[in-house]
């Protein structure tokens, strides 16, 4: 099921794009990521809409009143919140559901990159069972796994560029920076109180480091996906005029 619906179409799309783009797997991953982001754009837009609605609701007088009134009765508070969600036509899971749906796509893409590069006999044998007849696999394999300074089949921890005796994981650093930028630029002003702000701040700090760790320790093809996906995400938000540039400035927003 997973192979048929997610993995095989992804592997074959990657191989098809690789064939179109002069056998450059780096460009194939970039193009593929852009296509995936475009296909999942309705989910991104819906997520943004839900988040915005939620933000507006949290700013509303009624919401603030409920918070104050039932601050010592959590059960009642959540009942009232749900009531308000219903009144305003908001699905409380509307902002996280699209993210959850994107999760299998990320896992599938990782598997597709690793499977398509097939650097071990078992992976190559596996690949042979999943290629559609219209893909000229015999001509394409082995895929050229080099792109710029990257070996897309290897984790950067195994081959990073040595500068002054240190191995610098440039791609992992790019992942950290672009994830940080994306989370900062796309995070709307927090209205969930001090606790919410603190959580967002922590998330904005730990998530890029976590993504950087993944980029450093997983094959670089995945890291290239992360960077591209982050940049495309930022671009999509920019086109929609939703980037929050103020988050990048070291200025504290006065609390209301």
């Amino acid at each position: 099921m997973w192979n048929t619906l997610i993995l095989d179409p992804m592997v074959n799309s990657l191989l098809w794009i690789y064939d179109l783009l002069a056998n450059n797997f780096g460009l194939a991953i970039i193009a593929f990521t852009i296509i995936v982001r475009l296909i999942t754009y309705p989910l991104t837009a819906q997520q943004m809409k839900s988040t915005q609605k939620m933000q507006e609701m949290q700013k509303s007088k009624k919401w603030q009143e409920i918070q104050k009134k039932y601050k010592d009765d959590r059960e009642k508070l959540s009942q009232e919140q749900m009531k308000l969600y219903r009144e305003m036509g908001i699905n409380p899971f509307g902002s996280c559901l699209p993210t959850i749906i994107q999760f299998p796509i990320i896992i599938g893409l990782y598997q597709a990159v690793v499977r398509a590069l097939a650097v071990t006999p078992m992976q190559l044998l596996e690949l042979s069972s999943h290629i559609y007849p219209l893909i000229p696999a015999a001509v394409l394999i082995p895929l050229n796994n080099y792109f710029l300074w990257l070996d897309l089949s290897q984790p950067e921890k195994d081959y990073g560029i040595p500068i002054a005796g240190f191995t610098i994981p440039i791609l992992a650093i790019l992942v950290v920076v672009s994830t940080y930028l994306q989370s900062k630029l796309m995070t709307p002003p927090t209205t969930g109180g001090e606790q919410g702000a603190s959580m967002t701040k922590a998330m904005n700090l730990y998530m890029p480091l976590f993504m950087g760790y993944l980029a450093w320790s997983f094959p670089s093809g995945l890291a290239l996906y992360f960077v591209t996906s982050n940049l495309v995400g930022i671009l999509q938000y920019a086109i929609m005029g939703k980037l929050n540039w103020r988050n990048l400035l070291p200025i504290r927003t006065p609390s209301k």
Partner: protein
């Protein structure tokens, strides 16, 4: 640190573990066992160890390393040297020389920058080890580098020697075959692009012909003089391992599961046993002894056929049989991907003699 931050970090760690679990990771084998035999011992490279197995009863003599190194795996079949060494390459980019009697390391060669998937060729003149870093390393028998040759693609198969011309032949995933001078590593010729990767070793006919199977769904005969194509014979699917040459016949399987017998002279098909009868991909080369052909399939079945393609007997194991069957005296050895039946010995009549399980359950 605030408790909420700790919860956040914990959640991220859980996410990392989930991703690792979902993506397969390191626990999946990257290849299948490699087997070599001498007069009384089978040497099996599989996952974390190289095992020496007593051929008389299937018990373990030793294993290398004694304790598993989680950063290393062995899958290439070890090779015996004329001066009593066992040479085996690891996925940690290192080639090892072991004492075949006790498994103690003599020396290692750590200069490759990628894993050893191919079995090294070991001769009196030295060791020729292709690594996945696209280099062919030539060492003397003491493990000192003599020369290295950069090749345009990875080689996953043992090179083959040809004493008549002082050549060795190397197949490559880059769709070509190379002839190399073993004395200094200079390239003598390279074939044209053969239409698909070549993963198996070539079969060498001393009359001046090399036979290879390709991912271009073909078996191809090349002249050893200049690498020119002599004939091409079609198969239904990719050919993984090299064909087996016996007399004037070539036997080879494909990934659909068809077994073919070709005329080595002109590539004409003599017979074909279709996949519906053999039930699974054929990855290893067929073993031919006298008038018997032994071939393993992905479905875990070992078939014995006669040279007309008639099935004589079948034995079924639990794992997948990707490794070529190996002859050891009167025994047929079959390595499986199932760890608890790593190596099984059959008589030529198909009776199971013993099974080697590297980690038998301890008796309570």
């Amino acid at each position: 640190m605030k408790p909420k931050h700790l919860i956040l970090i914990f959640s991220i760690l859980i996410l990392a573990m989930t991703i690792s679990a979902c993506t397969g990771g390191a626990t999946i084998a990257s290849s299948w066992p490699g087997v070599t035999v001498d007069s009384d011992t089978a040497y099996v490279a599989n996952n974390r160890h190289v095992y020496a197995v007593n051929l008389s009863n299937g018990t373990q003599k030793w294993r290398f390393p004694a304790e598993p190194d989680n950063r290393n795996s062995f899958y290439a079949a070890p090779a015996r040297s004329p001066d009593n060494q066992l040479i085996v390459g690891g996925y940690n980019n290192t080639l090892y020389s072991l004492n075949p009697t006790n498994g103690i390391e003599n020396w290692n060669f750590p200069d490759a920058t990628n894993r050893y998937i191919a079995t090294p060729l070991v001769e009196q003149s030295g060791i020729y080890a292709p690594a996945a870093d696209e280099n062919l390393y030539a060492l003397d028998l003491a493990g000192k580098i003599r020369w290295e040759l950069a090749t345009p693609g990875e080689s996953w198969a043992a090179p083959v020697t040809d004493e008549s011309c002082s050549c060795l032949y190397l197949t490559s995933l880059d769709h070509r075959v190379y002839a190399v001078d073993p004395t200094n590593g200079t390239q003598i010729w390279e074939s044209e692009s053969l239409g698909g990767s070549i993963v198996g070793s070539p079969a060498h006919d001393p009359r001046g012909v090399l036979y290879v199977g390709t991912f271009g769904n073909e078996v191809i005969a090349l002249s050893t003089n200049d690498g020119k194509v002599i004939w091409r014979a079609p198969t239904e699917d990719w050919v993984w391992s090299g064909p087996t040459l016996t007399g004037d016949r070539l036997y080879v399987g494909d990934l659909t599961g068809n077994l073919y017998a070709f005329n080595a002279g002109d590539g004409s098909e003599i017979w074909q046993v279709t996949a519906d009868k053999l039930d699974g991909k054929i990855v290893g080369s067929p073993l031919v002894i006298d008038e018997d052909i032994y071939v393993g399939t992905e479905s875990g079945k070992l078939f014995n056929l006669d040279t007309s393609g008639n099935i004589k007997w079948t034995q079924t194991l639990n794992g997948k049989l990707y490794t070529s069957p190996t002859a050891a005296g009167d025994l047929i050895l079959v390595a499986s991907t199932q760890p608890d039946e790593l190596l099984t010995a059959f008589t030529r009549q198909g009776e199971k003699q013993w099974t080697f399980n590297p980690e038998p359950k301890k008796e309570e």
